[in-house]
Subunit: 206 residues, 2 copies
Amino acid sequence: MAEEKPTVFIIDDDPSIRKSLLRLLRSFGFEAETFDSAEEYLERERYQGTGCIVLDVRMPGIDGLALQNELNKADYTMPVIFVTAHGNIPMSVEAMKKGAVDFLPKPFDDNEFLQAVNRAVETDRTAKIRFAGTREILRRIQRLTPREQEVLRYVVSGMPNKQIAFRLGIAEKTVKAHRGRIMKKLEIDSLPELTRLAEKAGIQPL
Amino acid sequence: MAEEKPTVFIIDDDPSIRKSLLRLLRSFGFEAETFDSAEEYLERERYQGTGCIVLDVRMPGIDGLALQNELNKADYTMPVIFVTAHGNIPMSVEAMKKGAVDFLPKPFDDNEFLQAVNRAVETDRTAKIRFAGTREILRRIQRLTPREQEVLRYVVSGMPNKQIAFRLGIAEKTVKAHRGRIMKKLEIDSLPELTRLAEKAGIQPL
DNA sequence: AGTCGCATTAGACCAAAGTCCACTATACAC
DNA sequence: GTGTATAGTGGACTTTGGTCTAATGCGACT
């Protein structure tokens, strides 16, 4: 597969900043897109790939910090770099507490900006990889029938088939049958593996 | 058991600050101790309970940010709150990136200070609880003999006893004997539980 | 009405795991 | 020496787990 370029989303109401950052990023091999307001970004952008957001704090309408709040609420995990000409310490601390990867007061030089972007993209990449793993597991577990998921829960709790059968009011044979299908569907062949899958999927024992 | 008061360590070269913060914290039910330099803190303090550090950035000798670096390097996980009269944004961002829970420019009011301390102590408390769990598990697993740990590794990889025996060049009976002792020593009674313990202890399958 | 997926079960086996007891052999400590 | 911990083994069983085949009942979709 072709190497996907990471995409940087620049949200700033100052056209000259947008333009210069855009040029800078593109010249260093990033994809980049610009938005002149938080609203525009929220409307237009549904990007799912890897990248980061460069966000001006002070903007008309929804400001940068408010946008960050929105994205957090929506579990939108793309890393955010703040840039601003009118920042102060409490503002930067607040942004960092909420998960920003960096906060750059304008003016900043190209180098520190690019470093921040690289860090942010790297953060996003590893987060996406980690998440993709557990999402794939969840996907597979959700292909199990409700009954199978129920049995799975008891199994990873360490209960013997006989007891599982008793609790569910069914025959031990049936539990075995479910177990067999669970293992086949999840394409695994050992109880420890099953336990780890369930663990990653957030299935609690008992 | 008696409720342990959290302890706050105040590190600041300004005696009047030390004194006022000390009084404030004590009046709100915290234990608190003061240090007039990072060096003094490093020499004197080996506190293991729950609490946090209030750290001045600008100090003669080792400054606050340098001390934070030292503590991080030593895996000393007590949360740090920075306070400073001569801060700027890059400084605060740097501190936050390195894990500070807050960064307060002087002057700050009592209320926001206390809020920060509470947050920090809470952070420490939950971190300590989480860590205590895995440490206890590690302790128990390390009481297993080397051979038992070896067998454990194969078991949680999902290998049947017969294969484990083959790989170790021993009889299947012996593997069973080890398994039995492992389960007894760890005081558990199911393979899924064993798998989870091993997982938390960082034992990799295969 | 027919077909599918789901849940359920039985019978017949076989393989794997666990238990109890006894025995041997190191190695290290007191 | 006499212990104590670790490691390895065998016999004799019991309990669990897993597989294959075959079958039944139910609800949903066509």
